[in-house]
């Protein structure tokens, strides 16, 4: 297998080989979307340190891994137990993907309420491609049109060209899904170092409500690349709580590019907890497109060893009376490195915007590093915006206070780290999810992950 960097030409060659076998190959609009995206990648090339959005994160090690390959069916069948977050009570609202491919056998969809479509992308492309036609590639702005939002996103371009499978969830008008829908992605079976081009789509129709939890797990030692593209549309009056837990093994590369459109009086809430992977890049763009739209973009990254996690977000306030809130917290140990790039853009017409952003990092070792770049770009004059970033160490005064009360040093440190992260976890409005993620933080502290 080649160790050379994949040039656009090599990728085009790989694409040519598998084009006819990709899902939806017989759907003309998709086939041309793929080809256009590959062309876009050829224009963009791999991001380098000179690319502003990639200043702190290098993809050097990813550029040699073949993009087109996926899995062998045999290994998929060897999964018996799904490491899911939610217990039996919500067993009927689960989609499971192994090595990036939907597993009907491991999934359980029998409790999905009427009016909700929850299926695999590959399946929908076979049975009902029309459901996707005006959506796939549209929220991310790739499907042409005057406003190309994905201009600088080569990974999304590659994902669109090579997308293989992923989930499609459409929650119909006025439908309320009370229990969380969990999507489990189990990666790294078979040990092949390949790229899983996962493509997800969430459509919340008017006044619908749902909680979706993505749970990414993998083997400690399996090297593979998860390159995900995700599009989310939250229509007027709808509410989506979109949570993500990523605890993949330390050889894994986890890349994702997410686009979210939030319409009038709609709410999008997200929390991303990253403790896994060698290299993580969470890139999320949220566009507040209708008056009264609100988003909460939050997360926490807990790293040790030589892990690297990059959270890059853009929140665009496009119309008046929209609000956003962003809270990220990092705890960095060992020689790990965290990156937070948060941009809030308030467009010319977006008067009365209310936007707040904060990133705080706790450095647990002298060798850990955080690069934070908060940015406010404001073109309106009547707005309320703030941002802030801090990096510090454990408060020695607090540590001594706890120890002087009999709490051993290790436990005292854990308590303080947990408390520090708690401020971000508090932002999770779903109590069950908050409790579960709190538990995951506890596991991380106990080195139980």
């Amino acid at each position: 297998m080649t160790q050379e960097i994949l040039t656009p030409e090599t990728l085009a060659e790989q694409f040519g080989h598998i084009r006819a076998a990709l899902p939806g190959a017989d759907v003309p609009w998709l086939d041309s979307l793929r080809a256009d995206s590959l062309g876009r990648f050829a224009d963009l090339g791999w991001p380098t340190a000179k690319t502003e959005a990639w200043k702190y994160t290098s993809l050097k090690d990813v550029q040699t891994i073949p993009f087109g390959l996926g899995r062998s069916a045999k290994t998929v069948e060897s999964v018996e137990v799904v490491p899911c977050l939610f217990s039996d009570a919500h067993v009927g609202l689960r989609l499971v993907f192994v090595n990036g491919h939907f597993s009907a056998r491991l999934s359980a969809l029998n409790d999905m309420p009427e009016g909700v479509t929850a299926a695999s992308l590959a399946e929908v492309l076979k049975t009902d491609p029309a459901l996707l036609k005006d959506r796939l590639g549209h929220i991310g702005g790739e499907a042409g049109g005057p406003e190309d939002k994905s201009g600088g996103q080569p990974l999304l371009a590659l994902n669109t060209a090579f997308m293989n499978d992923g989930f499609v969830i459409v929650v119909g008008k006025g439908i309320v899904v009370e229990d969380p829908i969990e999507i489990v992605f189990i990666g790294g079976f078979g040990g092949e170092n390949v790229v899983h081009n996962v493509r997800n789509l969430i459509v919340m129709e008017e006044n619908s409500r749902a909680t979706i939890v993505e749970n990414y797990v993998g083997f400690p030692t399996s090297a593979f690349v998860h390159n995900e593209g995700c599009e989310v549309g939250v229509a007027a009056g709808a509410t989506l709580k979109h949570y993500k837990l990523q605890t993949e093994g330390f050889e894994t590369t986890h890349l994702n590019t997410v686009h979210v459109d939030v319409e009038r009086d709609a709410t999008y809430e997200t929390f991303m907890l990253s403790t896994g992977a060698r290299l993580t890049r969470n890139e999320k763009t949220v566009r507040l497109k209708g008056e009264g739209a609100h988003c909460a973009v939050n997360g926490a990254f807990l790293l040790r060893g030589t892990q690297h996690c990059d959270n890059t977000t853009v929140i665009e306030h496009l119309v008046p009376h929209t609000s956003s809130r962003e809270v990220f917290k990092g705890a960095l140990d060992g020689e790990s490195r965290g990156v937070f790039q948060g941009r809030i853009v308030v467009h010319k017409d977006a008067q009365k915007t209310d936007g707040h952003q904060m990133c705080k990092t706790l450095l647990l070792s002298d060798k850990a590093e955080i690069d934070t770049k908060p940015e406010l770009e404001i073109y309106a004059d009547d707005v309320k915006c703030s941002h802030g970033a801090t990096a510090g160490q454990i408060d020695e005064g607090a540590l001594f206070y706890l120890r002087s009360r009999g709490i051993p040093e290790v436990a005292a440190r854990e308590l303080l780290i947990e408390a520090f992260l708690g401020e971000a976890l508090e932002e999770i409005s779903d109590e069950r999810v908050r409790g579960l993620l709190r538990g995951k933080v506890g596991h991380w502290l106990a080195r139980d992950v």
Binding site: D395, F400, Y401, R403, S404, G406
Partner: protein, 253 residues
Amino acid sequence: MSVAPMLDIKNLHATVDGKPILKGLTLSINPGEIHAMMGPNGSGKSTLSYVLTGREGYEVTDGEVQYEGRNLLDLEPEERAAQGIFLAFQYPVEIPGVTNTTFLKEALNAIRKHRGEDTMDAMEFMKFLRAKTKELGIAEDMLKRSVNVGFSGGEKKRNEVLQMAVLEPKLAILDETDSGLDIDALKTVASGVNALRTPERSMLVITHYQRLLDYIVPDFVHVLANGKIQRSGGKELAVELEKTGYADFIEAA
């Protein structure tokens, strides 16, 4: 016959950032005794409290401290707490995100574990804690709040007393517990402390002013100046100091 002292400090020398602060302090405290340590600012009062509780950055350069017949200075701060030493801080630390209840439960269970006792479960602990707050007249909502965050000066000091009540130390060191309190808050805190007096429990009450000693009446009063005890006496010494001030001792030193 003589009782073995609980705390026996001999010729203690300590430095902070290389600067000598304690310069030969000698003090014995027997079980059940209340000693007041008075002195001007900068005399080494707080340094003594931190040396006894093992805070980093307070280096003992000479002398020894025996606690219940063992070398105290060898122990980590949490081990000292487990052996029954408690410091009520002059400036209690705020810990956002840790509730008072969690903090107290972790502390008590850590100490019980260290002593080889069973830890308390959440239910059992809440019952125990509620009883303590009631005894001390402390509002229960204080338990749900983050440790000392947004507490008034009086609440912070009352919280120190609550911690003392929960951890039931053998030797309590009260570092300027009166600082920042108005007279009503002072009385409340002092009555809390007095409620914790027992024939076995010893206290070292560090204060600048005699005022506190009207409410927590000591058995002995010592004057600390220039890193050494300059004079010792009974409770009447505090009254005398209130009149004369510390000038004599500063000059003498």
